[in-house]
């Protein structure tokens, strides 16, 4: 695939976000193109979380724009962005712990199907909701025998998979994955990598991740964020060889 000529789906243009004297996002320009998996890496404290907040609408940038599929969405709410197809997953899973895995995904399906001002028909036995939900859970490899279990009782690995399933149920035009591998064991990490590989190409993905094996296995392009600035952006081989990147990571490992 020729990523250089593909249309950008998501663009951050000159984003700046300050907290008091700290510039957490310092003139970040970045794009994700159709069909691409773009990974964003950076040491702790680089400003990844702040940047995601501005892309998803939980934070307002002090300057700059967020463009999604040609539309300026800088001032839109989170929910409005999701409706347009900009969907995220959370590093620390945000799930409805009292409900089953199936109910979690079914609710996301329901949200996509339009308004929920429907007061009388029972939702948990509505095939229009549970049908697609079961399909998505199967697609991400969630154990079909465990979909009725209470989400709070699931393992961490299952919850990370479920988090991804909920995001997929929103029918993303672009997926913003915030550390999907965080806290996973080696075999779970590998399985998640394979799941993401299957999604890649179908849905453009911006992947924020610390697991370098996964990043270099999956990414078409990598951008490196250090102290709120993008210090390098390019193909994996170029990033691996970049002296500035090596320095940033070596500095972190030394400190």
């Amino acid at each position: 695939m020729d990523a250089a000529v593909a249309e950008p789906v998501l663009e951050a243009r000159g984003l700046i976000k300050r907290f008091g004297g700290l510039t957490a996002t310092d003139d970040v320009t970045l794009d994700v193109r159709a069909g691409e998996l773009h990974a964003l890496i950076g040491p702790n404290g680089a400003g990844k979380t702040t940047l995601i907040g501005q892309l998803t609408g939980e934070l307002r940038p002090d300057a700059g724009q967020v463009i999604f599929r040609g539309e300026d969405i800088t001032r839109l709410s989170t929910a409005a962005r999701v409706k347009r197809g900009l969907v995220r997953s959370f590093q620390i899973v945000q799930l409805l712990d009292d409900d089953s895995a199936l109910a979690n995904v079914a609710l996301a399906v329901q949200a996509r199907l339009g308004h929920s001002f429907r007061f009388f028909r029972r939702a948990s036995t509505d095939d229009a909701l549970t049908g697609p939900a079961r399909r998505i859970l199967a697609e991400v490899g969630f154990d079909a025998a465990r979909v009725e279990l209470r989400t709070g009782d699931l393992s961490h690995g299952e919850r990370k998979v479920l988090e991804l399933a909920v995001a997929l149920a929103a029918e993303p035009q672009l997926l913003l994955l915030d550390e999907p591998m965080a806290g996973l064991g080696p075999s779970e990490s590998l399985r998640m990598t394979e799941t993401l590989r299957a999604l890649k190409g179908r849905i453009p993905i911006l992947l924020i991740e610390h697991d370098m094996d996964a990043v270099f296995a999956l990414a078409d392009r990598i951008s490196v964020l250090v102290y709120g600035r993008v210090i390098a952006s390019g193909e994996p081989a170029a990033i691996r060889a970049d002296p500035a990147v090596q320095e940033a990571y070596l500095a972190e490992e030394a400190g």
């Binding site: 929910a79 999701v82 009292d98 409900d99 929920s116 001002f117 199967a138 929103a170």
Partner: protein, 340 residues
């Protein structure tokens, strides 16, 4: 999916449980309906009156439970809607008695089929306005702002000398309704019991509907709701209004029973009692608020018969229940959130 045995077994168990629960429910309802006859036969006719009050308060508590137990919105001002519903009945009676329309426009009425919908409408409109403003906040601010609005309504009625001020407003005769004579204690009770059953059924349907799912989601993680594209404010507001309407209905019935409306109905203590009933009975359960209302009113009457300082005894009992039965009385009976 080759292996569906586990979900099927679980579904079977749920169905068995469902039939057992339905049978229990039917027996309970029959017992509740027979209560006036039993009370008269046993020589405790006053019991019917107490049960009527419990039914009214249960309607209010169940309404509060919709937003508190299911939506996670801690409103500390729901007595306001209870009182407004009650005053709707009282004020309509007063103008009916005097024969002069309200503001020269709306004629008074002593017809239950007019006063009940009017009470629900008034309470619903108040909940719409107060909810629209309060729901812009959350957490402690939300608790405080709902309390503040309820206090405003309270003092408004204390100041309304035309309708009795803090002395309250006497409704000399209960409303008329075709086919029933509400002067008969048993018939007044059956009306309240019937409307309680109907309202619980409506709330039960709402809780399990798509709307109810969104409400549950808001309680558990509002951030998640936004992340699947749901703008939560409108859903919270609609739930808030439904809950206000239910409290208005409850207040209208209560004023019919007591034949008296007073600002005390909307005091912050009353708001606290409604919250207590929901928590005591079991947050997020259908029958919990009914048990909570029954337990609280029952304890007040029995302890009140023993000593005038009954609140000294009631307090520790409530603390013990909240400490040792998280999930309230419903959890003691083996029904958790979302079951029963």
């Amino acid at each position: 999916m080759a292996d569906t045995s586990l979900p099927e077994a679980m579904a079977d168990a749920a169905r068995t449980r469902g039939w057992r629960d339905r049978a229990i429910l039917l027996v309970m309802f029959a017992a509740a309906a027979a209560l006036p006859l039993i009370a008269d036969a046993a020589g405790f006719p006053a019991t019917t009156g107490i049960a009527t009050q419990i039914a009214c308060l249960a309607i209010a508590a169940a309404s509060l439970n919709l937003i508190l137990g299911h939506g996670g919105m801690v409103s500390f001002g729901h007595a306001a809607y209870f009182g407004l519903g009650g005053y709707a009945v009282g004020i309509l009676w007063e103008h009916f008695r005097l024969g002069e329309p309200i503001f020269g426009l709306i004629p008074g009425s002593n017809q239950l089929l007019v006063t009940l919908p009017a009470a629900m409408l008034v309470a619903g409109l108040a909940a719409l306005v107060i909810g629209a403003l309060s729901l812009r906040t959350s957490g402690i601010s939300f608790i405080m702002i709902t309390l503040a609005f309820a206090q405003m309504v309270f003092f408004l009625f204390v100041g309304l000398k035309q309708y009795g001020g803090d002395d309250g407003l006497v409704v000399r005769r209960r409303n008329l309704v075709p086919g029933l004579d509400l002067r008969e204690p048993a018939q007044m009770y059956w009306l309240c019991l019937g409307l309680l059953a109907l309202w619980l059924w409506v709330l039960h349907r709402i809780v399990r509907s798509r709307f109810g799912r969104v409400l549950e989601g808001i309680r558990q993680s509002e951030r998640r709701m936004a992340a699947i594209g749901i703008a939560t404010y409108r859903y919270k507001l609609v739930a808030f209004v439904i809950s206000g309407v239910g409290c208005g209905l409850a207040g209208a019935l209560m004023v019919n029973y007591l034949r008296f409306a007073s600002p005390e109905m909307m005091s912050w203590q009353r708001s606290g009692e409604l919250m207590l009933m929901v928590i005591l009975g079991g947050l997020g359960t259908t029958l919990g608020p009914v048990l909570g209302a029954g337990a609280l009113v029952g304890l007040e009457y029995t302890l009140g018969g023993i000593t005038e300082h009954w609140q000294f005894i009631l307090g520790p009992i409530l603390v013990l229940i909240v400490l040792f039965a998280r999930g309230g009385l419903m959890s003691l009976l083996g029904y958790g959130r979302g079951r029963g």
